[in-house]
Point group: C2
DNA sequence: GAGTCAAGTGACAGTAACTCTCAAAAGAGA
DNA sequence: TCTCTTTTGAGAGTTACTGTCACTTGACTC
């Protein structure tokens, strides 16, 4: 996750107030409890009430932190890093190549730091239909960001159809690659798989 | 929709029994009632109970015909026509081009026959998050079919990663194009828009 | 350090999409 | 007409989610 709530990054910032720290703790407690229960009993068999009890908060609080049960799994904070990496690429580079370099750098970082959670997330996103849908949602979370960056690089409008098409195609392909990776037992080299995926996109979807 | 339940195609087949005919009627009644209520009050504001009452069946029956409320909107029978059109294309043709011809033929047919329902469906799929998600689901409905055809054409396995990536990329792009079309007020020429979309894919997502 | 204010929380009630079960009704075939 | 099977409706139950309201707990002021 590499989110603001992890110890690894929590030390950044100029010392938060007690309130903020408690919020981070609560958020983390809910997520931890959820992941544990999901692992033990499965996603569907785990009710929000159980998560609340395990995290020692009220059910209302769970919904206050995460709008839906799905968000407990899906919320992350990878985007800023990816965006920064993208903006660092030269503007003449075609979108797929720029994304390739940025994504690979981000992924290497994630794999090195939050490997376990990455694996569990990927597995859940592959096995639970509701999560698979959310993940496949083209312009869902990071979409607008990528659109903005690409639009800027090419001098187009952020809402340009072609920009949006490029973005959703990349996301859909990446997502499908991850699903494949999970189905194969997460044995493959993910980085290489991502590379192959972007190759296919870059060569115009030929086989 | 061009589904088996519409008058336009219902006459095919060798005279069904009363039971079958009633099933088709019920299915149609539910769909009609749903579309009407969605149009009047919106998707979220319409409960399944209301649909059941308007269609003059019990709520249980609605769920027997459509596993979820979403399926009332999403169920269609376009696939067989698309598949046939695809298989008719020469095997040497690159996937995007084969899909271009097949999809355009299918769309022309749909627009000529079920224009109104096509518009309403597209609008709902754009405006209702739950439906947008279902539609964006890469390998959702028609995915496996397209994979099979493509795999056959190229002599690959149906589960081949690259085949799947090609398919989800095409679907995601098509879906996004439709969303854009709805956002622009459904004024544009959809066929031309689909063409542009496939151009982007075919040229390797360059801008 | 007491007092005020706002943010965070929990208890509770309500809604609606499903699921399951079982008995009644209706079509199919003899 | 009688039986067998499919389809249907009724009802009860589960669970994700929403909204309200009173209570607690940090944050800030004097």
């Amino acid at each position: 996750m590499a989110s603001a709530e992890t110890p690894s990054v929590a030390q950044t910032g100029p010392r938060l107030g007690l309130r903020e720290r408690k919020k981070i703790q609560t958020r983390q407690a809910i997520r931890r409890a959820a992941y544990r229960l999901y692992g033990q009993q499965g996603y569907d068999a785990t009710t929000v009430d159980q998560i609340a009890e395990a995290a020692d908060v009220s059910p209302s609080t769970v919904f206050r932190y995460f709008p839906t049960k799905e968000d407990i799994v899906l919320t992350d904070e990878y985007d800023p890093a990816l965006e920064a990496a993208l903006r660092a690429r030269p503007a003449e580079e075609p979108p797929v190549e720029a994304f390739r370099h940025a994504a690979m750098a981000s992924m290497r970082h994630i794999l090195a730091h939050d490997m376990d959670e990455f694996r569990q997330r990927a597995r859940l996103m592959s096995e639970v239909p509701a999560l698979r849908r959310r993940a496949a949602e083209g312009m869902g979370e990071s979409g607008p960001m990528l659109c903005a960056v690409l639009a800027e690089r090419t001098g187009r409008a952020a809402g340009d159809v072609e920009v949006r098409i490029v973005v959703v195609a990349i996301f859909a392909a990446m997502n499908e690659a991850l699903l494949h990776w999970v189905e194969q037992g997460q044995q493959e080299d993910v980085i290489a798989l991502v590379g192959r995926t972007l190759d296919v996109l870059g060569r115009g979807l030929t086989l």
